[in-house]
């Protein structure tokens, strides 16, 4: 049998080789046709086993074909029946029809083989006939219900006659569905049109409909004479197809560590972006909402932080197009506009519609990611959007309406407590009281500034999609409108996204497709961030501002405290506006060509183009805007990339039980971005904002522009081999060239190998295991996520000098060049186990990995006396190792009530192993506070660095003999690490790690009849987080700034000696605003992230509606934590590994009402 395929294999191998040496391609290609035609007659006399043929089709076409052993047993077909270069459907017809069999397409890439005779007989007789299905099916994927043997129906006198029709989700008839009276052997099957007629004993009878590959359903007859039902495909029982880099693979054949999330695994409700769908859903994938602002930044760490200074975010690939996910314009531009610097950029994935996503595959180990080479080290997220399928046109409409609020404002001192605190501290410092009785009487209730800046905010989203297709063309199109106001006044996001996915077959071998996504995202930004004083945004100002001040003066203008260089918070809300408009269109056009069966070529052309513009106007109502006469800033960004990719894929059955596949390709991607920004101040009026910069003082403008590009050129290859469906082997290699690296190091090579052993196929493994697979992989991936031009010396804008009272702009070197700059490499080894029992009801995925990053791209500090802060160098090593566990279980599976649980846990340890010749890198600078973190060998990267507080000096302590001889009772006691009887910077130590010990997510789903309840918890344990708002409260920059209530009310006094918080008197005399263990907090938390109650409306009787679902979702309902602050996940540095919470945007509690209708 195998010889029959030999000629093919020879010529295919030749063809494949020619791909690598294309000079002779034409000749060889034409020979190929000739050879095939001439060899064909020689195979006429040979026959093949139908079972082998079907198994061969599965591999060759990358589909799943379900069949019962019984109906194919002993069937043979002539080898000539199989045609080369035709569709699977054609070939299935060729091999099945002569055997009296037919096939049914259950869903995309899944076919079931049926006995046609059964259906034919049914149509010939009026009397229903039950056909017993025989046990002994080989596929474990066949559902249990389908195996119940049926006996002939015996019709009793009192029987009730019912008729009906069974359809699949796409509206197609389902023949051969077993219909059984529950608890009896009585039953029938549907005919070729999906119809059945049948008598049941009484109207209380329950009918059980079951079919291979579908979820069975039960219906009580009741008063119905006609029972029409729809069966839905059962993903659990099917052999899932997983999308991997440059291809797909059956889950059972997977050797790498890949987390696959389908629509039902996503977080429910209206999600602003794709990454929020995944939050908490997959072990080892930490999705942190670094800013909870609508449309705010998200940082994703797959298996920890693998780089110190290069990027740590994964590569996103959407339908085969790798995205440039660099940040879009941040919400504020910094100093020259008199507002703070916000390092939390807008989320670049805002321009993708979460409702369009069919599945998300997260590639975690090197075997899965090495095919992406220099962009694989941080993991890869493959996003697959929905396609249309053949059949009736389906229309789906989703609507969400919601309301968000701030569950709990930060506890700062209220007016009365503030006055008491200020007067108390003044007394302790030996000053006159800040507030006299007359002042207190005048002030009255004062102002609660947080109440002034937060409000209840609405959220709404509408999504309409239409999909369908015929034999040659399928399409999916959608339109999404999403609007979310922020809980902080004057912030929010509004966006419109449209998508078209179209695929068309031309003849038998050619398929052309296009995926196109276009979007407009309007952001209304909040401007909080890392800055202080007059640059502080409304959130910071609301915490610091004096609660005894009124919002407005008597004349209606904003009041402004004379004690504080902090804006009246309301003046920031009303006086400052920052908007972004981002237009982004991305898509790809692809051509698939089946050269011969098993060998196909794919050409993929993609592009991602975005233009963004930010307008910021700081009006004369703010501290900075008033003297400037208004400050206007416009910034634009154009970012584009082009992908050109060619791959060939060959799958070949070598022997009856071994399969070989090979993939080869070349890919080129070019990135370009251009920016322009201008700031002008001095406007005659605030009325026009940024709409007429020419009205400003053009002698005082500030302009900047820039352009950058970079290129990747790569060659990739992968080999798969499987033997007996038991032993699986995958190896891949990518040669990646990047313009970013030094002259001598343009190319990097990224290999991987992986092996899988399906133990469940072994006879010595008990049948108890439904599936048991051991996986192991090793590989090297790279990281090239650094700035352009890092290997070159260039000159850029330098310091400004003043000559003749005018400004002259100088030029200075941008950096010290490093011509030897090369890739950062991450070597990763992974061992995994997939196990499931009870027909897949309980499954477990376990992975252990060790990731070693070496030749790290480190900004190595060099003496500033050289004129440079650092040199980007390939040096050092860092390790991440960890365990990931995913457990899914259907706890209760009864007809009325179902309960399933999914639990994911990951524990990842990060450790810096080497940073060259220097002992440590102190970094993470925050304005007016200084450095906050350290990179030191033997410790987690960016550990918090500061002084350790041992307690509080009490009256009568031997202060003079301590390391702080000038301290007073009520001052914190710092640990004198080096014992030199003084507190100096040498006494700073690592006081905490930003990495959690473990992270987890728990999903519970309860289904009762039409009602479903989903409850999702997620959290982390053991991480610390530095809260600069706590530090600011402990060491106020100015005595009159407000404090956190916890510190203010519970400060040390003679009468309150047992407290952890210092006295607050002369705070700059103790600690000087530096990081210490009091400012670090335990960021462990458990969050009730989502609760969803949904109800499937009974709409069978409404002709034009297929399905309708009504649901209520609550998000962020409760957070259990000791953390003081809005969110223990916040990071003011955005995606950086230096984690601090500073003016975090409050995480809103959201309630949503949703409706989903399918037409």
């Amino acid at each position: 049998m195998t010889q029959t395929r030999l000629p093919y294999s020879v010529l295919l191998a030749v063809l494949l080789l020619t791909c690598c040496y294309p000079s002779g391609a034409q000749v060889v290609a034409s020979n190929a046709r000739t050879v095939r035609q001439t060899t064909r007659p020689a195979t006429t006399s040979q026959t093949l086993s139908l079972r082998d043929v079907l198994n061969d089709f599965k591999a060759r076409y990358g589909v799943d074909i379900l069949f019962e052993d019984r109906i194919v047993a002993g069937q043979v077909i002539p080898a000539t029946a199989i045609e080369a270069g035709v569709s699977l459907e054609k070939n299935l017809d060729n091999v099945l029809r002569p055997q009296g069999l037919r096939y049914k397409k259950i869903k995309a890439k899944v076919y079931a083989v049926l006995s046609e005779a059964r259906a034919r007989k049914l149509t010939l007789t009026d009397a229903p006939e039950a056909l017993p299905l025989e046990p002994g099916v080989t596929l474990k994927t066949v559902s249990i219900q389908a195996l119940q043997p049926l006996t002939n129906v015996t019709t009793a006198a009192a029987d009730v006659s019912v008729t009906g029709r069974v359809l699949d989700e796409q509206g197609g008839e389902l023949p051969g569905v077993s219909v059984v009276v529950k608890g009896t052997q009585r039953g029938t099957t549907t005919n070729a049109n999906g119809n059945f007629t049948f008598s049941v004993p009484d109207r209380q009878s329950v009918l059980v409909f079951s079919f291979v590959g579908y979820q069975s359903r039960e219906v009580t007859v009741g008063s119905q004479a006609i029972i029409n039902i729809t069966l839905t495909a059962d993903n659990k029982t099917l052999n899932e197809v997983i999308v991997v880099g440059y291809g797909t693979v059956k889950k059972s054949d997977l050797t790498g560590s890949v987390a696959s999330l389908k629509a039902e695994d996503f977080n429910p409700g209206a999600n602003a972006s794709v990454d929020q769908l995944m939050l908490g859903r997959s072990p080892g994938v930490q999705v942190n909402q670094s800013s909870s602002e609508p449309g705010g930044g998200v940082s994703i760490r797959i298996r920890g932080a693998s780089s110190l200074n290069a990027g740590n975010d994964p590569l996103y690939v959407i339908d085969g197009l790798p995205l440039d996910n660099s940040s879009t314009l941040s919400s504020s531009p910094g100093g020259n506009v008199g507002v703070g610097t916000n390092q939390n950029p807008r989320n670049p994935l805002n321009s993708i519609n979460p409702n369009d996503i069919a599945s998300i595959e997260i590639l975690k180990d090197a075997s899965a990611t090495a095919i992406y080479g220099s962009r694989g080290a941080n993991g890869v997220i493959l996003i697959t959007t929905k396609r249309g399928s053949k059949g009736k046109i389906g229309v789906s409409y989703d609507m969400n309406l919601g309301i968000q609020n701030v569950p709990k404002p930060l506890g700062v001192l209220g007016t009365a407590d503030y006055i008491k605190f200020m007067n108390g501290v003044a007394k302790d410092e030996g000053r006159a009281p800040e507030f006299t009785d007359a002042d207190i009487a005048r002030i009255g209730a004062g102002t609660n500034w947080q109440e002034q800046i937060y409000h209840q905010a609405p959220l709404s989203s509408h999504n309409l999609s239409v999909s369908g297709g015929d034999d040659n063309t399928t399409f999916f199109s959608s339109f999404n409108y999403f609007k979310q106001d922020g809980v902080l006044k004057n912030s929010g996001i509004k966006k419109y996204i449209a998508r078209v996915n179209l695929e068309r077959k031309f003849g038998k071998n050619v398929k052309l497709g296009i995926n196109l996504n276009t979007s407009v995202v309007n952001d209304l930004n909040s401007i909080d961030g890392l800055n202080n004083n007059e640059n502080a945004g409304p959130i910071n100002a609301s915490l610091l501002y004096d609660p005894t001040e009124p919002v407005y003066n008597a004349n209606g203008t904003f009041s402004q405290s004379k004690n504080l260089t902090v804006n009246n918070p309301v003046s920031l809300i009303e006086g400052l506006k920052s908007t972004n408009v981002t237009n982004r269109t991305l898509g790809n056009l692809y051509l698939n060509y089946i050269i011969i069966p098993g060998l196909d070529a794919k050409l993929n052309f993609g592009s991602d183009r975005q233009t963004a513009r930010r307008d910021l106007y700081n009006s004369t109502r703010t501290l900075a805007g008033a003297p400037a006469g208004g400050i206007a800033n416009i910034a634009t960004l154009e970012r584009s990339n082009v992908l050109f990719e060619y791959t060939m894929n060959y799958t070949r059955k070598l022997t009856s039980n071994s399969t070989f596949g090979v993939l080869g390709g070349v890919t080129y991607q070019y990135f370009n971005n251009r920016n322009f920004a201008g700031t002008i101040r001095g406007f005659p009026s605030d009325a026009l904002a940024t709409n007429n910069l020419g009205l400003g003082d053009t002698n005082n403008d500030n302009l900047s522009s820039g352009q950058e590009d970079n290129t990747l050129l790569s060659y990739l290859g992968r080999v798969n081999y499987s033997l007996n469906d038991k032993y699986l082997l995958t190896a891949s290699l990518r040669a990646d060239g990047s313009s970013r690296f030094g002259e001598n190091n343009k190319y990097g090579y990224f290999p991987s190998v992986a092996a899988g052993w399906r133990l469940s196929e072994e006879p010595f493994i008990p049948d108890f295991f439904y599936d048991l697979k051991l996986r192991g992989s090793w590989g090297i991936t790279g990281n090239q996520d650094i700035n352009n031009y890092a290997s070159l010396t260039t000159y850029t804008t330098g310091a400004n000098a003043v000559f003749n009272n005018a400004v002259s702009t100088g030029a200075q070197p941008s950096r010290i060049a490093n011509p030897n700059l090369k890739w950062e490499s991450t070597e990763q080894a992974n061992i995994g186990l997939d196990a499931s029992i009870l027909q897949g009801r309980v499954s477990l995925t376990l992975d252990y990995f060790v990731k070693n990053t070496r030749d790290m791209l480190i900004n190595l500090p060099i003496p500033r006396a050289t004129g440079f802060a650092s040199l980007l160098t390939n040096i050092g090593r860092m390790e991440n190792k960890g365990v990931e566990v995913l457990i899914s279980s259907t706890n209760i599976n009864q007809k009325q009530f179902k309960w399933s649980t999914t639990l994911n846990v990951a524990a990842i340890k990060n450790k810096v192993k080497d940073i060259g010749n220097i002992p440590e890198i102190v970094t993470g600078n925050v304005e007016a506070i200084g450095n906050t973190a350290v990179v030191r060998v033997g410790y987690p990267a960016y550990s918090y660095y500061g002084y350790n507080v041992l307690g509080i000096f009490q009256t009568g302590d031997n202060i003079a003999g301590s390391a702080q001889p000038t301290a007073k009772p009520g001052y914190p006691i710092f640990e004198d690490i080096n014992g030199d009887k003084r507190i100096t910077p040498a006494d700073q130590v690592i006081i905490g790690s930003p990495f959690p010990d473990f992270t987890y997510g728990i999903q519970n789903t309860f289904t009762y009849k039409r009602l479903q309840l989903d409850v999702f918890f997620q959290g982390q344990q053991g991480a610390s987080l530095l809260n600069i708002n706590v530090l600011e409260s402990l060491y106020p920059n100015n005595a009159r700034r407000n404090r956190l209530a916890e510190q203010g009310l519970n400060r040390w006094t003679v009468d309150n000696p047992n407290t952890r918080w210092p006295s607050g008197a002369n705070p700059s005399a103790y600690g000087g605003g530096k990081v210490n263990s009091l400012t670090l907090q335990d960021a462990s938390y458990l969050r009730l992230k989502n609760v969803q109650v949904s109800y499937n409306l009974p709409v069978q009787k409404i002709k034009f509606i297929q399905s309708a679902r009504l649901y209520v979702v609550g998000q962020n309902l409760a957070t259990f934590t000791k953390y003081i602050g809005f969110d223990p996940e916040a990071n003011a540095f955005g995606r950086s590994n230096v984690r601090i919470d500073y003016n975090g945007y409050p995480l809103a509690r959201t309630y949503m009402l949703g409706l989903n209708i399918g037409f």
Partner: protein
């Protein structure tokens, strides 16, 4: 047959890579590449401009190190309180943010100067020779500041670094390097610069004179002061107020100033006045931070001293209340006036570094240290006193010690808000004792600021100043 071209085309695409070898070259669009750029005069001038920008020091440190450590002023309010308090209280450590800022900006000037010097090594044209001399001047001024703050520091003298880490120079190397460089640059520098703000011979001599004074090289101080008078360019401006007025920038008294404009200025004024102070121009802005003089200082001026007129002792605030500042240690310096062209808190007042009054008093001081009180010294002091409208001194009755005290007192009145008092006190070993007298826990090692902690971490060859 018609399918073959398609197959061929697809297969031929694998050629793609072959034709793209040059695609990995980097094109730099918005920055300049050094090769050609540094061969041009405008290129060298641009880097020199950056060097000037960095040596025209306007960071908070540049005007706050001296007044708060010497007890000239005290501060309340604003977020810089947390940075000023350690300076006032002698509790600063190597982690203080300003030490890093001053170190970085001064060495940035030295870096830029080194680049210019390396590219004008064999200067053939007059332009190149001048550029070279200006760069040499800037580098010397950079090291002069650094020596003043930290003592000897590593001498980086080339941009072509083969070694990033250098040890500190010795005391003698440091002193003589500054001297040698200024002496070399001075003859090549013009008496009057083509643009106000650039280096002149007078500037080089002025810095050198102060260098000699602060290193107690008395004879050289006197000689240099005398040499400066022979330049015939510098004189006292008749009215003390005019020395600092915006309208009179570039006046005859200035040897070297930090030039400023509202577009590249400083916040000194905004950090001095309270928020309820009536601002004269709509574009003015002040911060919540205030800088105050003690009553004892304000009251020490002789009556009729016009220099005291630039100190605000009471004002009518925006709420029309009269606020008396004298009596509560809250008098304000109005030496630098509000700038009508200010861009918010940023003003363009030039900040003097070396002015002729300082040369005169330095000269007098060196003469006194060399020989004790002389009429020559008294006359020099009296030039300054007469301009201020106070009674001239007479030689009679002065000992070396009492004249030294009188000179230091004179310098306090003359140079308040000009960042002189710290070095004056250190020169006469009074920095620590005066701090102790104010009740501060000052130690002898405090006369030198520590090397910034980050620099110590990045350069294992650096030894920290003792005590830190």
């Amino acid at each position: 047959m018609k399918i073959y071209p398609l197959k061929t085309a697809l297969l031929a695409l694998t050629l793609l890579g072959a034709g793209c070898q040059n695609t990995l070259e980097e094109t730099v669009y918005s920055e300049l590449t050094p090769g050609n750029f540094l061969n041009t005069t405008s290129g060298k001038q641009a880097v020199l401009t950056s060097a000037y920008g960095n040596i025209q020091v306007k960071g908070f440190w540049s005007f706050f190190y001296a007044p708060y450590t010497s007890g000239e002023a005290w501060n309340r309010g604003g977020s810089i309180e947390t940075l000023i308090t350690p300076l006032s209280d002698f509790t600063w450590d190597s982690n203080h943010a300003w030490f890093g800022e001053s170190w970085n900006s001064l060495y940035a000037a030295i870096r830029d100067a080194n680049i210019v010097l390396d590219n004008t090594k064999n200067a053939a044209t007059d332009t190149d020779k001048l550029i070279n001399a200006e760069a040499k001047f800037i580098r010397a001024v950079g090291y002069w500041y650094l020596y003043n703050l930290h003592g000897p520091v590593p001498l980086y003298t080339t941009s072509e670094l083969t070694e990033f880490t250098l040890p500190r120079a010795s005391e003698e190397e440091m002193k003589s390097f500054i001297e040698k460089e200024l002496l070399e640059a001075a003859p090549l520098l013009p008496l009057k610069a083509a643009q106000y703000g650039r280096a002149t011979r007078g500037a080089a001599f002025g810095i050198l004179c102060k260098h000699y004074l602060n290193t107690k090289q008395w004879q050289k101080t006197a000689d240099m002061a005398k040499q400066i008078t022979t330049l015939n360019r510098y004189s006292l401006v008749p009215n003390y107020k005019d020395v600092f007025s915006l309208a009179n920038e570039g006046n005859a008294e200035m040897l070297w100033v930090v030039t400023a404009s509202p577009q590249a200025g400083h916040n000194l004024v905004a950090l001095t006045f309270p928020t309820d102070y009536p601002l004269p121009y709509p574009s003015n802005q002040v911060f919540a931070a205030r800088s105050y003089f003690f009553d004892s200082f304000v009251n020490s001026f002789a009556s009729g001293d016009t220099r005291r007129n630039l100190i605000v002792t009471e004002y009518t605030n925006t709420a029309k209340q009269t606020i008396k500042l004298l009596g509560i240690n809250q008098s304000l310096s109005a030496k630098y006036e509000f700038d009508p062209n200010a861009v918010g808190a940023v003003q363009g007042n030039d900040l003097p570094v070396v002015r002729y009054a300082d040369i005169l008093l330095s000269w007098a001081e060196s003469l006194n240290e060399l020989t004790g009180p002389t009429q020559e010294a008294i006359d020099l002091i009296n030039q300054v006193r007469i301009r201020a409208g106070v009674t001239p001194l007479t030689l009679a009755g002065f000992t070396k010690e009492t004249l030294r005290n009188a000179l230091l007192k004179e310098r306090e009145w003359e140079f308040y808000s000009e960042s002189k008092r710290r070095e004056d006190q250190i020169r006469h070993d009074r920095f620590i004792s005066e701090a102790k007298a104010r009740g501060k826990n000052a130690q002898p090692f405090h006369v030198r600021f520590p090397i910034p902690l980050t620099e110590i971490s990045a350069n294992p060859k650096l030894e920290q100043n003792p005590g830190y």
